[in-house]
């Protein structure tokens, strides 16, 4: 983020970066390779932090649930992924997760790279969910719960419905094309 004119010192540069995060109400933000291990550790920290701040039980559970589903979507579907070559079940997937508070509400934003070819289907699912009201989301969840697993989806359909169900406002999402075959996808959920 450098200051204009003269070069910022290391301290100034990172203090400014930190102030920028704080000004957006960010509690924590992680960018880089995500794994199931990181999901677990960040999730524990999130629960502890919210509990210490006296967030009520139902809110802690809703935020945690959205966090887990968002993280697992990145781990499974990020288009930038490293999988262990010896077949071990290790997945490192590039992405970012940000949790914060604005206007008295918790929000979670997740971002990751997706293939442009996957964008229309994902956008269609999200548009569909966004248009549903609370009862519609609940009915759709029940319907998908009874569907046989969608081969290759590894559960994304029901995961996205779970996210929409815990949100207190309609979900927000966007796709920003980064090059000819990839886009940056982000999804913001307010609890």
């Amino acid at each position: 983020m450098g200051l204009s004119g003269m070069a910022a010192t290391l301290g100034q540069e990172y203090a400014a970066f930190k102030r920028e995060l704080d000004s957006k109400g960010i509690i924590f933000s992680f960018s880089g390779y995500l794994s199931e291990g990181i999901l677990f550790s960040l999730g524990e920290a999130l629960r502890e932090k919210m509990t210490l701040e006296d967030a009520d039980g139902p809110t802690v559970r809703r935020v945690f649930s959205v966090f887990v589903e968002q993280m697992q979507n990145i781990i499974r579907y990020s288009a930038e992924k490293i999988v262990a070559s010896d077949g071990r079940s290790i997945e490192l997937s590039a992405g970012m997760v940000t949790i914060g508070m604005e206007g008295g509400k918790f929000f979670i934003v997740c971002g990751n790279t997706v293939r442009n070819g996957d964008v229309p289907r994902l956008r269609e699912r999200l548009d569909f969910l966004k248009a549903l009201d609370k009862d519609g989301i609940k009915a759709h969840y029940r319907e998908q719960l009874r569907e046989a697993p969608d081969e290759g989806s590894r559960g994304a359909t029901i995961g996205l419905i779970e996210i929409a169900r815990r949100a207190s406002e309609p979900i927000e999402y966007d796709f920003a094309a980064t090059d000819t075959d990839k886009s940056f996808f982000c999804l913001k959920v307010r609890i």
């Binding site: 199931e36 999901l39 677990f40 524990e44 009520d56 039980g57 139902p58 559970r61 809703r62 945690f64 649930s65 887990v68 589903e69 697992q72 079940s89 609940k138 969840y141 029940r142 719960l145 009874r146 697993p149 590894r154 559960g155 029901i158 995961g159 419905i161 779970e162 815990r166």
Partner: protein, 133 residues
Amino acid sequence: MASERMTIPATPRTPEIDFDFASGRLALRGESYPDDVATLFGPVVAALREHLAEPSDAPLHVDIELVYFNSSSAKVLMTIFQLLEEAARQGRPVTVDWYCDPDDETMREFGEDFSEDLEHVTFSVREAADRDP
């Protein structure tokens, strides 16, 4: 020969699984957001399927005391309930106690999501305080 009992201890992100087929008591307790749902639950569901394949009229009781479960675990729970419903439809008495904290509206609603089309299984939502000692 189907296994008599399948037990898997809890971890911070996976539930205690105790499927005691011999005594007709099955239980899931704790958290459920495993890194790989198929590795954890695949053998458990297979054991249940195998057990239920043998006709029996011995009562089966299931306690579900989950604090949190992710959406992939929800799909597994639905599979388990569908297997139980089929056994109950064929005449086996099956009861399910679904525990939730008094302030946990989400877990209570999940109980309704799962029980909606159970006709032969007796499904009860219970508050965690009612748990048998």
